[in-house]
Amino acid sequence: MTASALLNAMVAAALKAGDSLSHDFANLGALEIQTKAPSDFVSAADLRAEEILFEELTRIEPGASFHMEERGRVEGAENAGGAVWIVDPLDGTTNFLHGIPHFAVSIGLERDGELVAGVVYNPANGEMFSAGRGQGAFLNGARIQVAKRTRLEDCVVVTGIPHRGRGNHETFLNQLTRVMRAVAGVRRGGSAALDCAWVAAGRYDAFWEGALQPWDLAGGVALIREAGGVATDMEGGACVLEAGSIIAGNAIVHTAMQDILQ
C-alpha cells in the first residue's frame, strides 16, 4: 500500500469509528432519565469504537500488532513487518460523558519502533487531523504547521492535570505555577490527542503533560513532528510513548518549556 493510500485508509477507519461515537454522543441527552450508570454507557461507546477500529485497521495491515486502551496489547504475526497500531478509540472520555464536544479517535502507526503515520479525529466538529512521515500534516486536507511564536510570554500552552494517584501532584502544581508566570495563557481541554493536534495546527504554542499512556499520544506525536514541531518526553528524550510524558512545540518554545519544567 502506498503511503498516501495508507493514510486515506486510516482516515476512513477513524471516520467510521467517529460515526459510531457521534451516534452515542447524540444519545447522551436521553441518559439522564435512564437508570443505567453513565460510565457504563461511555464504556460501551468506547468498546464499540474500538471494535470498529480493530476490524478496519486489521484489514489495512493484516497481521499487525495492536496496542489499544481496552484490549491492551495484541501480538500480530511475525511476518507483518513490525507494524503496530497504537489506538485510542475515545480520548477525552470525561468530556464525552459530560456532553462536551471535545473528544477524539486517535490512531498511530509504528513500524520497527518508529512512528510513521497518525490520525486524530474529533467527530463532534468533523475536524480530521492526519500526517504521514515525509508527507506533512493536514487538517481536513489543508496543510498545517506549528505556530512560529518564539517568546514564551506570547504563548498559549495547554496541559493536563494528572489524575489523583497518577503522577506526582505536587510536582505538577509547581510546574504549573512556574509556567503560568512565564506564558500569556494556560489551557486545559481534557483530551491529550486533541491537545497534540491543536499544537500541530498552530493553535496552542506548546503542550506538556505527564502520566500519559502510549495510545493518548501516538497519533498526536506523529502530527506534531510532521507539522514541523518537536515532541520529546519530559527529560528531552525521543521516546515519548515509552516515557508517557510529553513536551511539544516549535523547536525554540520546546527548549524554553523544557528549561522551565526541569
Binding site: 505556530a147 498559549v156 503560568m180
Partner: protein, 257 residues
Amino acid sequence: MPASPLMNIMLAAARKAGRSLARDFGEVENLQVSVKGPGSFVTSADHRSEKILYEELAKARHGYCFLMEESGYVDGPDKSHTWIVDPLDGTENFLHGIPHFAISIGLQRDNELVAGLVYDPTNGDIYAAERGKGAFFNDRRIRVSARRRFAQCVVAIGKPRRGIMQFHELEQSVGGFRRTGAGALDLCWVAAGRYDAFIEEGIKPWDMAAGIVILREAGGFVCDINGGKEMLETNSIVAANNQTMMRGMQKLVAVSE
C-alpha cells in the same frame, strides 16, 4: 430561542458582527506562521465587531445606554435600559487561531439582567434566554446538569489571577478542571449541562451579563466570590448547576481578607 422582537434584534446584530469576526479569524489563522503574530490585526477585528453591534442595536432600540468592552460606558436618554456587550469574548483564543470565542450581548432593565445572547461564529451556535422564557441552545431548550456530587463534576475556571493554589482544594475534590479561555461560553456551557460549574475572578460585566441570564433561565445559580450578588461590581463569579454546589464551591475558593 425564545421568539420575540427583542431576541430577533439581538440575534441579527450578533450574526452580522459574527460574519465580520469569522472573516478576520480566517486571516488570523494564516498569521500564526508569522513570528510577529497577528496582534494589532486582532485589535481592529475587535473594534470592527463592536462598531457593528453598537450600530445595529442602537438602530433597533433608540436611546438605550451601552456598556462595551472597547468603548466603555456610552450614555443614552433611556436610562432604564443598558446593552452590555462584548464584541469578542476569548480574545486570546482568537489571537492564537483557537476556534473558541464568542459575541456576548446582555440587556439590563432597571438594574436587572433581563435578556442574554451568546453567539459562537466558528460553528454558528446560539445560546439565548429572556427572563421567564427559558434558556435555549439553538432551537433546543437547555437545562443545567443534575450532578450533585463534587467528584462527578467538571469545573471550568477563568485565569487564576491569584495563582493556582487558590483552586487547590477544589481541584482535589472535583472530577476535573477545564480552562478554555472564553468566559461567556463557559457560562453557557454550564447552562447546557456540559460543565457543572464555572469560577472566575477579574471577569468583566460584558463577559458575564448575557451568560448570567442564560444560566439562570437554565436553572443554574450564580454568586460573587464572597457569596453575595455583586458579580458585576466585584468582577467575580461562581456559577453552578444548583445552589448547594454553588455554595460549596464558593466556600472552597473564597478569599479570606
